[in-house]
Symmetry: D4
């Protein structure tokens, strides 16, 4: 009767970044822009760090929606990049779905702008096809909290796991002993409070 | 165990606008009035744009509840318009249910005032009769956030899909190529941030 | 897979008011006191208006919890009134459960202070025994919003319907034609915005 | 020791609209975009209605700041329109100050984007030159509430009067008898709650 | 350099209630309606209790603004009641100012709807004529918090004292020994937390 | 279809306190620090009072995460204390799971920092192994409300019961007659409003 | 034209604690009770630590207002303790003013419940008599934020310095070298974040 | 009677950064950490960009307060850096004041942690000595909004100008023509919305 615990596995997960475009970002008002920018880049850093296959897609970059955020373009130069000719639900684009299926992964990590459309539509479609879907809620943004709450309800009721980038990183990493420094750096770069802890700690270590 | 993905289909959907009356609107305090007015008119524009059969109903227009918002009356001059003689749940009114069934549509898009009564009651009744029901949460309003949250929980647990007008429009449209200008206008008229994007874009285009 | 629509029926419903005591009320901080007082009295007025069997219970009135709110005591002079000798979950008190069963009603409407204990415990127990349970969320109060949210989640997941007093009144009444004046008075007494609508309306009627 | 009551006088007031440009508007996050758009247009309607000399100015319209909001451009085709070549404080632009002085008005009504720069700088400069300055706070926007609060404090301490568009309209109009219908229309177009009152009222008038 | 302490004196104070009309009340959204209704009636009870001369005024009661709240009309049957023919600033109405001056009081206690107009304008005018003015902020309401904050700043900078009804009552009463029961009743009727304290206290008194 | 009512039983419950470390606490921003400190100590007091087996675990105490909060260390000198060498999900640490299984309890009460990782991961693992799991939401903290809401949704959907420390204490105690003074002291130490009620009550008792 | 910088001097300051009574505390809703209790005790600890003469006063302890918070009574066994027979403004009580004047201090540090009455009235009276007055805003509480904001405005405009307990302690201490351990303990006992810093620091010191 | 307009002049301004230390930053809870980190670095970038003399000071870096944020240390390798031996008010440290006076600047721009102490104390002292003081409110942080509001009131009443880093940059720059690219880069690096505007703009330029 309850959802089973589907645990993220770095060997079985792919990341979908949907429509993080410079124009569309001006629509995002349920998260502060400083925090949102940080969350999106943190998710991208997770994808790089765990070497997860990552798929980028955009909608009408030449129009008012604007281009993909340049930082993302630079971080994933070799990733599939699907500029959709018009499909609003990225899952309606065959090339996008084929790129996903080509990864051979069963766990899909999804973030995008705006939450109730660019995220929710492919999430619902992927669930309907039997994928395990993890929504990175804090790297997804939309018009306001009411819209977000409705979108979360729809996705969760359909079987998606609601997560945030930090939980995602921890569940993928499993054990600090796999790499203390690498994960520590990732956190230090994206969590000011954590960076402060580390900087205080370093000062207190006489030998370091 | 999860809700299946019921996807809105413009060929199988009807819109129910319940009790958007000038007096009742003064009760709505979970959304700012400027935004709420915009959301209701945006939903109405969606109904027109996608040519969805639309059914209007009101309760006691001659009394303190006040008349239907004039803009809605003007936009749907030929739609069924059921002035209920007393039934609080519009679904208890046979004429209303017959009008719905006469559309032959299986997907019902519902909005109204107030959320936990005028929306929730017919939503729950329609679900019980096997319709697929989509609540337009941001074109529905009520006394406060606590009331809204309880109403959302009741409707979602009964199987309703919680949406907002923008997600609804996108799911109905499916593909921008069906009509870029029409949908763009609809968004420009109801999303100031989107209008700004378009206006900036137009300026930057030398030839346009 | 979804909760079925259990519709309140005034012939099959009883009201349980749990621990609305003057001391415990000072613990309630998730609703403003002016509004909370109004909501509790509005629920009590509903119980009277629809002639629903009502059962009162309290915990340690002689101690710091303080006496039952006097207004409630006065409104229900003939109702069962169970001063529990120590049970925290009122459902653990046999007299209380017998009083409920003596009403012969299957639908239980519950409100109290504090939400996650005095309301949630008997709600969960009643659900476990097969009753249909309706929580009047806005006539129930607790320490803060976090506590309330957790309590709502627990009760809803167990099958309770989350409502507010206004939705409850409307679902019980079904049709304004049953009594326009009575329900109108009830609303006018507890919804300032509605009272204003009525007062404006009366002024505008030349003959009245 | 207190500020004297400087009362707005429609015969002695001019309106300055500073940098309401489509790009800059995406920076405004201390007011919801639906409401902000409405407030700016309401202020513009006031300027038209009271026939106040109005001066428009912008900064780098061809760049990312974007063009002046088209609605404003259309409403004031004959007003002075100063595209500043680089001055951030519009008061540093001689043409702008000359346009103001050419009106012969002593009361300046100022709104713009963003509050702490495009509004505050000319406000402080105008006060320093002895003008009476009225800030239309709700037709001015900026990054967040903290920034706004600091800007309000700076302007108020320097002698500016903090107002909103509705108060401005009322103080300019003085007496409803000057024109009931005109002011009523202005309010109806920009205050949904007021429009509802009027629509209810019209319905209740049998002869009208 | 600081404002001197002007202390309310029940022998030198009059109350002005401006435009608490049933239609205009629907515009008030900076205070919850339950609380606002309570505050206005609490202020009226203070005026009665301290036998302060009270002056009522309204604007266009026959139109959409609606009639004076009936409770106020009933409480002050013999008070001056000025239905203004059109002046927005009540101080522009000679009859209103004469009624004030006829009281011979120098301290004016003002509340009304909406704050930045119906309150602020006569407050500023009265200050300009040398009255000591006390604004009852919580018995005055307006569209939103931003509007209120701007109005408070304007009134305070001009020399008004910002108060709330409870502080007003306490400053007028000076000493509980003047009448414990009367003031206690007033508080009990309008402060639920205080009522609870009294009810608990009464229970704990064996002899009472 | 609904979650059954699993009722906490003090004879079948164990408490897991996960990573309440001085460094990690600086990351907690969804609860005010004064309140959070109080909640964690209240939960610890409950564990002591009901003599529940309690298991402590930490992650990298010698590094920036900092040591276990000293108060907890002092309160549970004889409890299993597992300093994990690197596992992020405490359930991946065999020693931790063995300590839990050694208690022979089926009900697990879990709190920790941060909610979506240190709490959610072992909660999901324990549910997957058939334990009944109760999350003490207000003794668990994380970066912000958005993260918390997503974590609650994930845990609740997987079958966890969301509680707070006060509800937990009440459900474990069952009946005040088991020990009025002990539970009263626990509440008085951690709920200022309750302490005030008791202190007022004591004053009003002539003989006490 | 600006307020001069009056700097707190531990040799010239006295503390007035007004009406921190167990009943009245239930009225305080502008600060969370956990935080408010901590702030009041932190202020009391400051008074003890800096050996400032401290004066306690209460109103009707035998009635519903309840007794002085017991912790305060215990901390200041030898301080003047004035149970006022009825004066609402403590400054109207001669014994209270004499106790203040007997200290020979010119700087008065004031906190109490409720802010706009028990704090504001003596603050305004003391300012009128030429004292320098420092309001400890976070050890003073009242019904809601609106009331607090109005009270702050009134006190600040009259010349009071608005402070919080932490700033007060720092301004009185002047230099950490006067006593590192003592002030550190005071902060550690009342600021959980600071306590965590110290506990982390202690762990990192190899020799300690 | 009003504060005159003191306009920031890059040739007459110095920047004071007070106690931005890694431990103290964990106390800051009135601004989100992502935003606060950005604001502090933006202010530092302004100081560099406008080549303003900048003075750093810290308190007890070897203890729990932690070291200066490393980024600041790296950005200002040649700036005066005063590690205060114990003075809480940096102005009590002669070396600090001498460093300020050595700059020969009359306008002081101040930011630090925490606002009501490390910022407010030197601000008040500097004002008392006749400096013009500009507080960068959003690069200063403290425990909560109540504390911040009290600190702002104290500083503003004493004559300080409340600003934020963006307004500061604009007032120092005066005219975009002084350097479009440099200021644009500074804004692009610290205002995500502005960066998005620029990135969209660049895409729309065919030749670029």
């Amino acid at each position: 009767m309850s959802k089973p615990y589907i645990r993220l596995d770095k060997n079985d997960a792919a990341v979908l970044l949907v429509d993080h475009q410079t124009g569309l970002l001006s629509l995002v008002r349920d998260i502060d822009p400083d925090k949102f920018k940080n969350n999106v880049l943190a998710l991208a850093d997770c994808a790089k760090y765990f070497e997860l296959p990552t798929i980028l897609t955009t909608s009408f970059e030449q129009g008012p929606n604007g281009p993909l955020v340049p930082e993302l373009k630079e971080m994933f130069p070799d990733s599939p990049y699907i500029a959709r000719p018009g499909q609003i639900n990225a899952w309606d684009n065959e090339e996008f779905v084929q790129a996903i299926k080509a990864t051979g992964k069963k766990q899909l990590i999804v973030a995008g702008v705006v939450t109730e459309v660019c995220v929710a539509f492919p999430v619902l479609s992927a669930l309907a096809e039997g994928f395990d879907v993890f929504v990175v809620t804090d790297a997804s943004g939309t018009f306001n909290a009411m819209t977000r709450d409705a979108a979360w309800d729809r996705m969760s009721a359909a079987g998606a796991q609601l997560m945030t980038w930090f939980g995602l990183a921890c569940e993928l990493h499993r054990d600090w002993r796999n790499d203390v420094e690498g994960l520590g750096n990732l956190f230090s770069n994206h969590i000011p409070d954590y960076r402060n802890l580390i900087n205080s700690y370093m000062t207190f270590q006489p030998e370091k």
